[in-house]
Protein backbone atom coordinates (compact mmCIF):
# COMPACT_ATOMS: atom_id res chain seq x y z
CA UNK A 1 0.00 0.00 0.00
CA UNK A 2 2.55 2.50 1.15
CA UNK A 3 4.57 1.90 -1.98
CA UNK A 4 1.87 3.70 -3.95
CA UNK A 5 2.70 7.04 -2.37
CA UNK A 6 6.18 8.44 -1.73
CA UNK A 7 7.04 9.51 1.84
CA UNK A 8 5.50 12.87 2.91
CA UNK A 9 8.70 14.84 2.51
CA UNK A 10 9.09 13.82 -1.11
CA UNK A 11 5.37 14.29 -1.63
CA UNK A 12 5.67 17.93 -0.59
CA UNK A 13 8.49 18.42 -3.07
CA UNK A 14 6.53 16.99 -6.00
CA UNK A 15 5.08 20.29 -7.31
CA UNK A 16 8.45 22.01 -6.83
CA UNK A 17 10.21 19.30 -8.80
CA UNK A 18 7.48 19.42 -11.42
CA UNK A 19 8.04 23.15 -11.97
CA UNK A 20 11.82 22.82 -11.82
CA UNK A 21 11.88 20.02 -14.38
CA UNK A 22 9.79 22.00 -16.83
CA UNK A 23 11.13 25.55 -16.36
CA UNK A 24 14.32 25.55 -14.34
CA UNK A 25 12.73 28.27 -12.21
CA UNK A 26 14.01 26.82 -8.93
CA UNK A 27 17.63 26.62 -9.99
CA UNK A 28 17.34 30.06 -11.57
CA UNK A 29 16.02 31.44 -8.26
CA UNK A 30 18.83 29.72 -6.39
CA UNK A 31 21.37 31.20 -8.79
CA UNK A 32 19.93 34.69 -8.35
CA UNK A 33 19.93 34.43 -4.56
CA UNK A 34 23.31 32.82 -4.02
CA UNK A 35 25.38 34.29 -6.86
CA UNK A 36 28.45 36.03 -5.53
CA UNK A 37 28.78 39.78 -5.55
CA UNK A 38 31.91 41.80 -4.66
CA UNK A 39 32.65 41.54 -0.96
CA UNK A 40 33.04 45.28 -0.45
CA UNK A 41 29.72 46.53 -1.81
CA UNK A 42 27.37 48.02 0.73
CA UNK A 43 24.75 50.72 1.27
CA UNK A 44 25.76 52.80 -1.76
CA UNK A 45 24.72 49.95 -4.08
CA UNK A 46 21.12 49.80 -2.80
CA UNK A 47 19.71 52.72 -4.82
CA UNK A 48 18.89 50.61 -7.87
CA UNK A 49 16.79 48.18 -5.87
CA UNK A 50 15.13 51.12 -4.06
CA UNK A 51 14.17 52.45 -7.50
CA UNK A 52 12.57 49.13 -8.40
CA UNK A 53 10.63 49.30 -5.14
CA UNK A 54 9.39 52.80 -6.01
CA UNK A 55 8.53 51.66 -9.54
CA UNK A 56 6.41 48.83 -8.08
CA UNK A 57 4.84 51.30 -5.65
CA UNK A 58 4.00 53.70 -8.50
CA UNK A 59 2.52 50.84 -10.55
CA UNK A 60 0.40 49.63 -7.61
CA UNK A 61 -0.92 53.04 -6.59
CA UNK A 62 -1.38 53.90 -10.28
CA UNK A 63 -3.52 50.80 -10.85
CA UNK A 64 -5.70 51.73 -7.86
CA UNK A 65 -6.04 55.34 -9.10
CA UNK A 66 -6.98 54.07 -12.57
CA UNK A 67 -9.93 52.24 -10.99
CA UNK A 68 -11.52 55.58 -10.09
CA UNK A 69 -10.03 58.16 -12.43
CA UNK A 70 -11.87 59.16 -15.62
CA UNK A 71 -9.76 60.99 -18.21
CA UNK A 72 -12.20 63.50 -19.69
CA UNK A 73 -12.18 67.29 -19.18
CA UNK A 74 -15.57 67.06 -17.45
CA UNK A 75 -14.73 64.23 -15.04
CA UNK A 76 -10.94 64.21 -14.55
CA UNK A 77 -10.83 66.94 -11.91
CA UNK A 78 -14.05 65.69 -10.24
CA UNK A 79 -12.67 62.16 -9.85
CA UNK A 80 -9.38 63.51 -8.46
CA UNK A 81 -11.41 65.54 -5.97
CA UNK A 82 -13.46 62.48 -5.06
CA UNK A 83 -10.36 60.30 -4.64
CA UNK A 84 -8.74 62.93 -2.40
CA UNK A 85 -11.75 63.87 -0.28
CA UNK A 86 -14.17 60.95 -0.25
CA UNK A 87 -12.57 57.60 -1.12
CA UNK A 88 -11.32 55.53 1.81
CA UNK A 89 -7.59 56.29 2.08
CA UNK A 90 -7.82 57.79 -1.40
CA UNK A 91 -5.61 60.67 -0.28
CA UNK A 92 -2.95 58.19 0.77
CA UNK A 93 -2.96 56.36 -2.56
CA UNK A 94 -2.94 59.55 -4.60
CA UNK A 95 -0.42 61.24 -2.30
CA UNK A 96 1.97 58.30 -2.44
CA UNK A 97 1.71 58.26 -6.24
CA UNK A 98 2.34 62.01 -6.37
CA UNK A 99 5.24 62.09 -3.92
CA UNK A 100 6.57 58.75 -5.13
CA UNK A 101 7.30 60.40 -8.47
CA UNK A 102 9.41 63.09 -6.79
CA UNK A 103 11.27 60.51 -4.72
CA UNK A 104 11.85 58.46 -7.87
CA UNK A 105 13.47 61.40 -9.67
CA UNK A 106 15.72 62.11 -6.66
CA UNK A 107 16.71 58.44 -6.39
CA UNK A 108 17.43 58.33 -10.13
CA UNK A 109 19.83 61.25 -9.73
CA UNK A 110 21.55 59.63 -6.76
CA UNK A 111 21.76 56.24 -8.51
CA UNK A 112 23.22 57.87 -11.60
CA UNK A 113 25.62 59.98 -9.52
CA UNK A 114 26.87 56.90 -7.70
CA UNK A 115 27.38 55.05 -10.99
CA UNK A 116 29.21 58.07 -12.38
CA UNK A 117 31.54 58.56 -9.41
CA UNK A 118 32.37 54.83 -9.23
CA UNK A 119 33.03 54.73 -12.98
CA UNK A 120 30.65 51.79 -13.11
CA UNK A 121 29.58 52.64 -16.67
CA UNK A 122 32.99 51.71 -18.10
CA UNK A 123 33.80 48.62 -20.16
CA UNK A 124 31.93 46.27 -20.36
CA UNK A 125 28.96 48.04 -18.78
CA UNK A 126 28.25 50.76 -21.38
CA UNK A 127 24.90 49.23 -22.32
CA UNK A 128 23.79 49.16 -18.70
CA UNK A 129 24.41 52.92 -18.53
CA UNK A 130 22.58 53.56 -21.82
CA UNK A 131 19.48 51.61 -20.76
CA UNK A 132 19.55 53.51 -17.46
CA UNK A 133 19.85 56.88 -19.24
CA UNK A 134 16.86 56.06 -21.44
CA UNK A 135 14.88 55.01 -18.36
CA UNK A 136 15.74 58.39 -16.84
CA UNK A 137 14.42 60.30 -19.86
CA UNK A 138 11.25 58.15 -19.97
CA UNK A 139 10.64 58.80 -16.25
CA UNK A 140 10.75 62.53 -17.01
CA UNK A 141 8.14 61.77 -19.68
CA UNK A 142 6.05 60.02 -17.03
CA UNK A 143 6.23 63.12 -14.86
CA UNK A 144 5.21 65.38 -17.72
CA UNK A 145 2.23 63.27 -18.82
CA UNK A 146 1.10 62.63 -15.24
CA UNK A 147 1.07 66.31 -14.35
CA UNK A 148 -1.82 67.14 -16.70
CA UNK A 149 -4.07 64.35 -15.43
CA UNK A 150 -5.09 66.21 -12.25
CA UNK A 151 -6.55 68.78 -14.65
CA UNK A 152 -6.39 71.72 -12.30
CA UNK A 153 -5.32 75.25 -13.28
CA UNK A 154 -1.62 74.70 -12.76
CA UNK A 155 -1.60 71.35 -14.58
CA UNK A 156 -3.45 72.80 -17.54
CA UNK A 157 -1.23 75.84 -18.12
CA UNK A 158 2.04 74.06 -17.32
CA UNK A 159 1.14 71.43 -19.91
CA UNK A 160 0.40 74.08 -22.53
CA UNK A 161 3.82 75.65 -21.89
CA UNK A 162 5.44 72.19 -21.99
CA UNK A 163 3.79 71.26 -25.26
CA UNK A 164 4.70 74.67 -26.72
CA UNK A 165 8.32 73.99 -25.74
CA UNK A 166 8.21 70.85 -27.89
CA UNK A 167 6.60 72.98 -30.58
CA UNK A 168 9.65 75.24 -30.87
CA UNK A 169 11.73 72.39 -32.33
CA UNK A 170 12.58 72.92 -35.99
CA UNK A 171 10.60 70.96 -38.61
CA UNK A 172 9.16 68.27 -36.33
CA UNK A 173 8.15 70.61 -33.47
CA UNK A 174 4.72 71.81 -34.59
CA UNK A 175 3.75 68.29 -35.68
CA UNK A 176 4.90 66.90 -32.33
CA UNK A 177 2.80 69.47 -30.46
CA UNK A 178 -0.19 68.63 -32.61
CA UNK A 179 0.25 64.90 -32.01
CA UNK A 180 0.66 65.37 -28.24
CA UNK A 181 -2.44 67.54 -27.92
CA UNK A 182 -4.45 65.78 -30.66
CA UNK A 183 -5.24 69.15 -32.21
CA UNK A 184 -4.26 72.76 -31.75
CA UNK A 185 -5.53 72.96 -28.15
CA UNK A 186 -5.88 70.85 -25.03
CA UNK A 187 -9.17 68.97 -25.24
CA UNK A 188 -10.90 65.67 -24.59
CA UNK A 189 -8.48 63.69 -26.69
CA UNK A 190 -5.44 65.36 -25.14
CA UNK A 191 -6.38 63.95 -21.75
CA UNK A 192 -6.99 60.42 -23.00
CA UNK A 193 -3.79 60.55 -25.05
CA UNK A 194 -1.72 61.67 -22.07
CA UNK A 195 -3.46 59.04 -19.94
CA UNK A 196 -2.68 56.30 -22.45
CA UNK A 197 0.97 57.40 -22.67
CA UNK A 198 1.19 57.68 -18.89
CA UNK A 199 -0.29 54.31 -17.96
CA UNK A 200 0.35 52.08 -20.98
CA UNK A 201 3.13 53.24 -23.30
CA UNK A 202 5.72 54.72 -20.95
CA UNK A 203 5.38 52.25 -18.03
CA UNK A 204 5.71 49.23 -20.30
CA UNK A 205 8.73 50.79 -22.00
CA UNK A 206 10.28 51.55 -18.60
CA UNK A 207 9.43 48.06 -17.32
CA UNK A 208 11.06 46.46 -20.35
CA UNK A 209 14.17 48.59 -19.98
CA UNK A 210 14.40 47.83 -16.25
CA UNK A 211 14.36 44.13 -17.17
CA UNK A 212 17.19 44.64 -19.69
CA UNK A 213 19.10 46.80 -17.21
CA UNK A 214 18.91 44.09 -14.53
CA UNK A 215 19.73 41.33 -17.00
CA UNK A 216 22.94 43.19 -17.83
CA UNK A 217 23.76 43.78 -14.17
CA UNK A 218 23.41 40.07 -13.38
CA UNK A 219 25.26 38.96 -16.49
CA UNK A 220 28.22 41.30 -16.08
CA UNK A 221 28.35 41.16 -12.30
CA UNK A 222 28.02 44.04 -9.87
CA UNK A 223 30.92 46.52 -10.13
CA UNK A 224 33.18 46.55 -7.12
CA UNK A 225 34.10 49.99 -5.75
CA UNK A 226 37.06 51.66 -7.50
CA UNK A 227 39.19 51.37 -4.35
CA UNK A 228 38.62 47.63 -4.20
CA UNK A 229 41.75 45.42 -4.28
CA UNK A 230 41.85 41.93 -5.64
CA UNK A 231 43.26 40.35 -2.50
CA UNK A 232 42.42 36.95 -1.07
CA UNK A 233 40.03 36.87 1.87
CA UNK A 234 40.61 35.00 5.16
CA UNK A 235 38.77 32.03 3.75
CA UNK A 236 41.62 31.34 1.33
CA UNK A 237 44.31 31.39 3.97
Amino acid sequence: MSTLLPPPKELAMLPVDWVEERSGAISFGKFMLFRNVPKDISWLQTLGSALITVFILQATTGIILAMYYQPTPETAWMTIQWITNEATLGWLVRGMHKWGSSVMVVLLFLHMGRTFLFGAYKYPREMTWITGAIIFILVMGMSFTGYLLVFDERAYWATIVGVNINGTAPILGPALSYILMVGPEIGTHTLSRFYSLHMLVLPSAIGGLIFLHMLLVVRLGVTSPPWSRMEPTERDV
Binding site: F34, N36, L57, G119, F144, D152, Y156, A158, T168, A169
Partner: protein, 290 residues
Protein backbone atom coordinates in the same frame (compact mmCIF):
# COMPACT_ATOMS: atom_id res chain seq x y z
CA UNK B 1 47.12 56.68 -18.60
CA UNK B 2 48.06 54.48 -21.53
CA UNK B 3 45.20 53.10 -23.59
CA UNK B 4 44.56 49.41 -23.04
CA UNK B 5 44.22 47.09 -26.00
CA UNK B 6 40.85 45.42 -26.44
CA UNK B 7 42.40 42.17 -25.28
CA UNK B 8 43.94 43.65 -22.13
CA UNK B 9 40.64 45.26 -21.34
CA UNK B 10 38.72 42.01 -21.76
CA UNK B 11 41.21 39.99 -19.75
CA UNK B 12 41.24 42.60 -17.00
CA UNK B 13 37.48 42.37 -16.71
CA UNK B 14 37.54 38.57 -16.78
CA UNK B 15 40.14 38.47 -14.02
CA UNK B 16 38.01 40.76 -11.91
CA UNK B 17 34.85 38.77 -12.63
CA UNK B 18 36.57 35.48 -11.73
CA UNK B 19 37.88 37.01 -8.51
CA UNK B 20 34.41 38.22 -7.65
CA UNK B 21 32.99 34.74 -8.26
CA UNK B 22 35.61 33.14 -6.04
CA UNK B 23 35.95 35.67 -3.23
CA UNK B 24 32.68 37.58 -3.26
CA UNK B 25 29.81 37.29 -0.83
CA UNK B 26 26.47 35.70 -1.72
CA UNK B 27 23.66 38.04 -2.79
CA UNK B 28 21.47 36.50 -0.10
CA UNK B 29 21.53 37.48 2.72
CA UNK B 30 24.05 40.34 2.44
CA UNK B 31 22.70 42.44 -0.43
CA UNK B 32 19.10 41.44 0.27
CA UNK B 33 19.49 42.77 3.81
CA UNK B 34 20.82 46.17 2.71
CA UNK B 35 18.29 46.47 -0.12
CA UNK B 36 15.36 45.66 2.14
CA UNK B 37 16.34 48.23 4.75
CA UNK B 38 16.80 51.01 2.17
CA UNK B 39 13.57 50.13 0.33
CA UNK B 40 11.64 50.21 3.60
CA UNK B 41 13.13 53.61 4.46
CA UNK B 42 12.18 54.94 1.02
CA UNK B 43 8.59 53.69 1.26
CA UNK B 44 8.31 55.09 4.79
CA UNK B 45 9.64 58.42 3.52
CA UNK B 46 7.03 58.57 0.73
CA UNK B 47 4.27 57.70 3.23
CA UNK B 48 5.62 60.28 5.67
CA UNK B 49 5.61 63.10 3.12
CA UNK B 50 2.10 62.08 2.03
CA UNK B 51 0.82 62.21 5.63
CA UNK B 52 2.42 65.65 6.15
CA UNK B 53 0.93 66.80 2.84
CA UNK B 54 -2.52 65.60 3.93
CA UNK B 55 -2.18 67.15 7.39
CA UNK B 56 -1.63 70.65 5.98
CA UNK B 57 -4.79 70.70 3.82
CA UNK B 58 -7.52 73.15 4.57
CA UNK B 59 -11.06 71.89 5.15
CA UNK B 60 -12.96 70.46 2.19
CA UNK B 61 -14.32 73.59 0.52
CA UNK B 62 -18.08 74.07 0.55
CA UNK B 63 -17.94 75.32 -3.03
CA UNK B 64 -17.61 72.07 -5.04
CA UNK B 65 -15.54 73.80 -7.73
CA UNK B 66 -13.04 75.48 -5.42
CA UNK B 67 -9.41 74.71 -4.74
CA UNK B 68 -8.57 72.70 -1.63
CA UNK B 69 -5.73 74.72 -0.19
CA UNK B 70 -2.56 73.53 1.44
CA UNK B 71 0.54 74.97 3.03
CA UNK B 72 4.20 74.51 2.29
CA UNK B 73 3.70 71.18 0.51
CA UNK B 74 1.10 72.56 -1.87
CA UNK B 75 -2.66 72.23 -2.24
CA UNK B 76 -4.59 68.97 -2.58
CA UNK B 77 -5.70 70.31 -5.94
CA UNK B 78 -6.20 73.73 -7.47
CA UNK B 79 -9.44 74.86 -9.05
CA UNK B 80 -10.54 72.95 -12.13
CA UNK B 81 -8.67 73.82 -15.32
CA UNK B 82 -10.52 76.51 -17.21
CA UNK B 83 -9.04 78.24 -20.27
CA UNK B 84 -11.43 81.12 -19.59
CA UNK B 85 -9.80 82.07 -16.30
CA UNK B 86 -7.80 85.29 -16.47
CA UNK B 87 -4.94 84.71 -14.04
CA UNK B 88 -2.67 81.73 -14.37
CA UNK B 89 0.71 80.62 -13.10
CA UNK B 90 2.18 77.94 -15.30
CA UNK B 91 4.42 76.41 -12.70
CA UNK B 92 5.73 72.95 -13.60
CA UNK B 93 6.63 70.24 -11.12
CA UNK B 94 9.97 70.92 -9.42
CA UNK B 95 11.99 68.57 -11.61
CA UNK B 96 11.23 70.74 -14.62
CA UNK B 97 12.23 73.98 -12.91
CA UNK B 98 15.64 73.81 -14.62
CA UNK B 99 13.91 73.87 -18.01
CA UNK B 100 11.61 76.67 -16.85
CA UNK B 101 14.67 78.70 -15.85
CA UNK B 102 16.28 78.08 -19.25
CA UNK B 103 13.11 79.58 -20.76
CA UNK B 104 13.69 82.70 -18.70
CA UNK B 105 17.34 82.96 -19.69
CA UNK B 106 16.67 82.56 -23.42
CA UNK B 107 13.48 84.55 -23.51
CA UNK B 108 13.79 86.44 -26.78
CA UNK B 109 12.07 84.73 -29.72
CA UNK B 110 15.38 84.35 -31.59
CA UNK B 111 17.16 82.66 -28.68
CA UNK B 112 14.21 80.69 -27.32
CA UNK B 113 15.14 77.53 -29.20
CA UNK B 114 18.50 77.44 -27.38
CA UNK B 115 16.72 76.94 -24.07
CA UNK B 116 13.87 74.77 -25.26
CA UNK B 117 15.51 72.41 -27.72
CA UNK B 118 19.25 72.85 -28.22
CA UNK B 119 20.49 72.66 -24.61
CA UNK B 120 18.11 69.83 -23.56
CA UNK B 121 19.03 67.85 -26.68
CA UNK B 122 22.76 68.28 -26.03
CA UNK B 123 22.19 67.14 -22.43
CA UNK B 124 20.30 64.05 -23.54
CA UNK B 125 22.95 63.12 -26.11
CA UNK B 126 25.73 63.61 -23.54
CA UNK B 127 23.80 61.58 -20.98
CA UNK B 128 23.17 58.60 -23.26
CA UNK B 129 26.56 58.76 -24.99
CA UNK B 130 28.66 59.40 -21.89
CA UNK B 131 30.38 55.96 -21.83
CA UNK B 132 31.69 56.67 -25.33
CA UNK B 133 32.87 60.17 -24.48
CA UNK B 134 34.78 59.17 -21.35
CA UNK B 135 37.37 56.71 -22.69
CA UNK B 136 39.58 56.75 -19.61
CA UNK B 137 39.71 53.14 -18.39
CA UNK B 138 40.59 54.09 -14.79
CA UNK B 139 37.78 54.08 -12.27
CA UNK B 140 39.56 55.81 -9.38
CA UNK B 141 38.41 59.39 -8.97
CA UNK B 142 41.97 60.62 -8.35
CA UNK B 143 42.82 59.54 -11.91
CA UNK B 144 39.73 61.08 -13.49
CA UNK B 145 40.11 64.86 -13.02
CA UNK B 146 38.00 65.79 -16.05
CA UNK B 147 35.17 63.39 -15.26
CA UNK B 148 35.24 64.48 -11.61
CA UNK B 149 34.97 68.17 -12.48
CA UNK B 150 32.09 67.46 -14.86
CA UNK B 151 30.46 65.28 -12.21
CA UNK B 152 30.65 68.14 -9.71
CA UNK B 153 29.68 70.88 -12.16
CA UNK B 154 26.56 69.30 -13.65
CA UNK B 155 24.71 68.94 -10.32
CA UNK B 156 25.72 72.49 -9.34
CA UNK B 157 24.38 73.89 -12.63
CA UNK B 158 21.17 71.85 -12.37
CA UNK B 159 20.59 72.78 -8.72
CA UNK B 160 21.19 76.47 -9.48
CA UNK B 161 18.78 76.41 -12.41
CA UNK B 162 16.24 74.52 -10.28
CA UNK B 163 16.59 77.03 -7.46
CA UNK B 164 16.06 80.07 -9.67
CA UNK B 165 13.36 78.25 -11.64
CA UNK B 166 11.39 77.72 -8.44
CA UNK B 167 11.08 81.45 -7.79
CA UNK B 168 7.65 82.86 -8.52
CA UNK B 169 7.54 86.16 -10.40
CA UNK B 170 8.76 89.07 -8.32
CA UNK B 171 6.23 91.51 -6.93
CA UNK B 172 5.81 94.31 -9.38
CA UNK B 173 4.76 97.89 -8.84
CA UNK B 174 1.29 99.35 -9.06
CA UNK B 175 -0.67 99.25 -12.28
CA UNK B 176 -1.65 102.56 -13.82
CA UNK B 177 -5.28 103.42 -14.40
CA UNK B 178 -4.93 103.33 -18.19
CA UNK B 179 -7.48 101.17 -20.02
CA UNK B 180 -6.17 97.60 -20.15
CA UNK B 181 -3.57 98.08 -17.40
CA UNK B 182 -5.59 96.39 -14.67
CA UNK B 183 -6.47 93.47 -16.96
CA UNK B 184 -2.81 93.08 -17.96
CA UNK B 185 -1.67 93.11 -14.34
CA UNK B 186 -4.36 90.76 -13.05
CA UNK B 187 -4.30 88.36 -15.97
CA UNK B 188 -1.94 85.86 -17.49
CA UNK B 189 0.33 88.53 -19.05
CA UNK B 190 1.82 89.58 -15.69
CA UNK B 191 3.17 86.08 -14.98
CA UNK B 192 5.67 86.27 -17.81
CA UNK B 193 6.15 89.86 -18.92
CA UNK B 194 7.63 93.10 -17.60
CA UNK B 195 5.64 96.17 -18.55
CA UNK B 196 6.34 99.26 -16.50
CA UNK B 197 2.96 100.84 -17.06
CA UNK B 198 1.16 97.79 -15.64
CA UNK B 199 3.73 97.47 -12.85
CA UNK B 200 4.40 93.81 -13.68
CA UNK B 201 7.72 91.98 -13.21
CA UNK B 202 7.11 88.52 -14.70
CA UNK B 203 10.40 87.19 -15.99
CA UNK B 204 9.57 84.25 -18.21
CA UNK B 205 8.85 85.93 -21.52
CA UNK B 206 10.37 88.93 -23.30
CA UNK B 207 10.41 92.27 -21.49
CA UNK B 208 7.72 94.21 -23.32
CA UNK B 209 9.26 97.57 -22.39
CA UNK B 210 12.23 96.52 -24.52
CA UNK B 211 10.56 94.36 -27.17
CA UNK B 212 7.98 97.12 -27.96
CA UNK B 213 5.72 94.98 -30.18
CA UNK B 214 3.43 96.89 -32.52
CA UNK B 215 -0.30 96.37 -32.39
CA UNK B 216 -0.49 93.75 -35.15
CA UNK B 217 2.31 91.66 -33.61
CA UNK B 218 0.80 91.83 -30.13
CA UNK B 219 -2.61 90.93 -31.48
CA UNK B 220 -1.25 87.88 -33.35
CA UNK B 221 0.80 86.71 -30.36
CA UNK B 222 -2.03 86.99 -27.84
CA UNK B 223 -4.46 85.29 -30.22
CA UNK B 224 -2.29 82.43 -31.46
CA UNK B 225 0.65 82.22 -29.07
CA UNK B 226 4.20 81.57 -30.19
CA UNK B 227 7.05 79.50 -28.81
CA UNK B 228 6.22 78.78 -25.19
CA UNK B 229 3.55 81.51 -25.08
CA UNK B 230 0.06 80.00 -25.03
CA UNK B 231 -2.79 81.07 -27.24
CA UNK B 232 -5.41 83.13 -25.39
CA UNK B 233 -8.19 82.72 -27.96
CA UNK B 234 -10.24 80.69 -25.52
CA UNK B 235 -9.53 82.96 -22.56
CA UNK B 236 -10.37 86.40 -23.92
CA UNK B 237 -12.96 87.78 -26.27
CA UNK B 238 -11.94 89.56 -29.46
CA UNK B 239 -12.48 92.99 -27.88
CA UNK B 240 -10.43 92.00 -24.85
CA UNK B 241 -7.54 90.78 -27.00
CA UNK B 242 -7.71 93.92 -29.11
CA UNK B 243 -7.68 96.00 -25.94
CA UNK B 244 -4.65 94.17 -24.50
CA UNK B 245 -2.77 94.38 -27.80
CA UNK B 246 -3.51 98.09 -28.07
CA UNK B 247 -2.49 98.63 -24.47
CA UNK B 248 0.78 96.74 -24.88
CA UNK B 249 1.65 98.45 -28.17
CA UNK B 250 0.86 101.89 -26.84
CA UNK B 251 2.48 101.74 -23.44
CA UNK B 252 5.56 99.71 -24.34
CA UNK B 253 6.27 102.26 -27.04
CA UNK B 254 5.86 105.02 -24.49
CA UNK B 255 8.75 103.78 -22.37
CA UNK B 256 11.92 105.77 -22.71
CA UNK B 257 10.37 108.48 -24.84
CA UNK B 258 8.04 111.26 -23.90
CA UNK B 259 4.90 109.72 -22.45
CA UNK B 260 2.17 109.36 -24.98
CA UNK B 261 0.98 107.21 -27.82
CA UNK B 262 3.92 105.64 -29.61
CA UNK B 263 2.05 102.99 -31.53
CA UNK B 264 -0.11 104.71 -34.05
CA UNK B 265 -1.14 101.26 -35.31
CA UNK B 266 -3.35 100.65 -32.29
CA UNK B 267 -6.30 102.31 -33.94
CA UNK B 268 -9.14 101.19 -31.76
CA UNK B 269 -7.32 101.59 -28.45
CA UNK B 270 -8.67 102.55 -25.99
CA UNK B 271 -12.13 102.19 -27.57
CA UNK B 272 -11.86 98.38 -27.54
CA UNK B 273 -11.18 98.45 -23.80
CA UNK B 274 -14.32 100.44 -23.12
CA UNK B 275 -16.21 97.94 -25.29
CA UNK B 276 -14.71 94.99 -23.38
CA UNK B 277 -15.71 96.67 -20.13
CA UNK B 278 -15.13 95.39 -16.63
CA UNK B 279 -11.51 95.14 -15.58
CA UNK B 280 -10.44 96.18 -19.10
CA UNK B 281 -11.96 99.64 -18.86
CA UNK B 282 -9.92 102.38 -17.25
CA UNK B 283 -9.47 106.08 -16.99
CA UNK B 284 -7.01 107.34 -19.59
CA UNK B 285 -4.78 110.05 -18.24
CA UNK B 286 -5.81 113.16 -20.18
CA UNK B 287 -2.26 114.55 -20.14
CA UNK B 288 -0.38 111.59 -21.54
CA UNK B 289 -3.00 109.18 -22.84
CA UNK B 290 -3.71 108.66 -26.51
Amino acid sequence: MPRLTARERREGYQREYAFQQRHGKPFFPHVVFHDTIVSLIVVALIMGITVLWYAQFGAIPTDPMAERTGGLLGPAYEAKADPGVLGYHPQPDWYFFFLFELLRIFKTPQLLIVGTIIIPTIWMVLLIGWPFIDRNPDRRLSRRPIALSIGVMVPIVLLTLTFYGSKVPAEGGVASTEPGAAAFAAGACSTCHVLANAGTAGNVGPVLDEAKPDYATALALITNGQGSMPSFKATYTEDEISCLAGYVATWSAAVGTTPGPGAATAKDYPASCEKAGGIFAGTPSSAAGP
